[in-house]
């Protein structure tokens, strides 16, 4: 009896924890979606509502429209800026993901299977660099970027992203490779395959789940970056969504509806990417290799 009570208490506790976690992570998302469909007049209302009283698409119209009205005045459309920043975010995040992934796929392999002097020390340093706070390198990095003429360029932003996310990606890929049986590679060498061919044809397909996880992680980190584009993307040439959206705040008026509509659209690429890549995260790929 006592045991049963404990059991139910345990389950209730577990359910509560899940609920809190869901509220914690989905709450803000829900609030953003809600606000993006809420009539501006309701937004200022006294009582909080969990459902739009008068659902409206006006914020999205303002976001996507060629021109729009705000409080009766004709205002300039935000679409040219928004679309440009959207493309900027996509380009820099995708480029950073591809470069990071390629470097981590080959570099991680080298850290596991190749022997060279100082290998473990080097890897330790790479991992240790994750502990360096970004703020401390901002100023030297800025001067470096200026002297390289890379401020406000895709290349510059991408390079900074790669340098920031590569250590974690390397670490992840290294653990993935460490968990793969070396006998498969040895079999391939004896079959006549060289190092690179073995890596590409035998190792990478088996490391695919790790590669995908690394890709998702890198893309999400890049997509959500605020500080780097804030500093290194002063103009719309490379400005990202994360920097643009808060600029919708004008001196006299905070357009919550527009900001949240933009935020909701900004959430779509990462969500779609995760859904798309998740399909390839097949488990048990290694099953049957041995024994």
């Amino acid at each position: 009896m006592r045991k049963l009570t404990l059991h139910y208490l345990g389950r209730a506790g577990f359910a509560l924890a899940v609920l809190v976690l869901l509220l914690w992570s989905l709450g803000p998302v829900y609030w953003a979606v809600l606000t993006s469909f809420t009539d501006p007049r309701d937004m200022l209302s006294e009582h909080l509502s969990l459902w739009p009283q008068h659902p409206t698409l006006e914020h999205f119209a303002k976001l996507f429209g060629a021109s729009s009205a705000s409080q009766g005045n004709e205002v300039q459309s935000v679409w040219p800026q928004f679309s440009r920043a959207f493309v900027n975010s996509l380009v820099t995040s995708a480029a950073a993901t591809l470069v990071t992934l390629a470097a981590a796929a080959f570099g991680g392999y080298a850290f596991v299977r190749l022997r060279f002097p100082g290998r473990d020390l080097l890897f330790g340093l790479v991992v240790a660099s994750m502990a360096v706070p970004a703020y401390t390198v901002m100023i030297p990095l800025y001067r470096l970027m200026i002297s390289l003429h890379l401020i406000d360029t895709y290349l510059g932003v991408t390079l900074i992203y790669v340098s920031a996310f590569l250590p974690l990606a390397l670490w992840l890929m290294r653990s993935v490779y460490q968990s793969l049986p070396v006998a498969l590679e040895e079999a391939a060498w004896l079959d006549g395959a060289g190092r690179t061919y073995t890596l590409v044809r035998i190792v990478l397909p088996l490391a695919a789940p790790g590669l995908i996880a690394t890709a998702i992680l890198t893309f999400l980190s890049a997509w959500g970056q605020f500080m780097v584009p804030l500093v290194f993307s002063p103009s719309l040439a490379t400005k990202s969504l994360t920097v643009l959206i808060p600029e919708f705040v004008t001196r006299n008026y905070v357009d919550y509806g527009l900001m949240n509509a933009a935020g909701v659209v900004a959430m779509l690429p990462p969500v779609l990417l995760v859904i798309f890549l998740n399909r390839f995260l097949v488990r048990g790929l290694i099953a049957g290799a041995t024994k």
Partner: protein, 359 residues
Amino acid sequence: MATVTIQKLRKNYGAIPVLHGIDLAIADGQFVSLVGASGCGKSTLLRMIAGLESVTAGTIDLNGRVINDVSPKDRDIAMVFQNYALYPHMTVAQNMGFSLHLRKESPARIDQAVKETAALLGLSNYLDRYPKALSGGQRQRVAMGRAIVRHPQVFLFDEPLSNLDAKLRVQMRIEIRTLQRRLGTTAIYVTHDQMEAMTMSDLIVVMNGGRIEQVGAPIDVYDRPANLFVATFIGSPAMNLIEGVLEHEQGLSQVRVGGQRIAMGRRIDLAAAAPVVMGIRPEHLALAPAQGLEFTLPFKVDLIEPTGAESHVYGQTGSTSIVAALSRKDDLQLGQAVHLRGQCEHIHLFDKATGARLD
């Protein structure tokens, strides 16, 4: 068509020596087994031949060419791993065709070679399956097929049957041997199982602690073990060892064991009073009188293990435990005291100090 010659081969892992100078010559088409206790360096030797481990000192020579520094992919040596190491993301056909594909053979040629090999191994119906959908025995065959299909200079096997059940093991060992004979490819086979080594090999290499103890045809190694290690390692149940002291009388030698003297019927070249070890295989002991020069041992029965065809009877002679493989008809009782008899010429004599064979 390949000969493998290994000279003064050494391997250190860091400061730890693992192989202490291996010399071995393998003729074309021979099936050679490496046997020895766990950790004696069999896999290390095999992997050095494959090129998967570097050579610390000495040479490995394939067809007269030193291959110490040739990379594994250029050695044209195939290896069957203990855990098979099949490529899990490739079908059986792709697994077997991988090496041919790498050699840039035409797809038609690859297809034909894979089909022929699959037929040979009874895998024709499984070509489109992935390894995870195969049984252990089938995976084992695919691993074999991957090695066979490319007609390499040398096959290397590292305990390929140790993951299979006893019945399948016997079946596969016959298949491997038959196949190897038919293909005529030189093969080096590592095993724990001395039964496999005895039945399959042209040549047995008995290793111990990174050294070769004896090389020879299975029967020769069985009949004339070079030292105490080989004597006890080869044969099951293991050879009985009885300690004694050597004596010479009228040009012939005898061994004093306890109160009795056992004639050797031959002259042993060792100083009198030297401590020696007599080795007698269990199947050379019987209750019936032996032919020729005979010895007898007092024996008290402790345990009887019927194996079907014969019984292994464990017991004591003096203070030494021994075992005899006796006929079931002998019908002994536990605790019974009898005399075991044997032929003096079946006695192996070893120097106790060095362990070396004395005649």
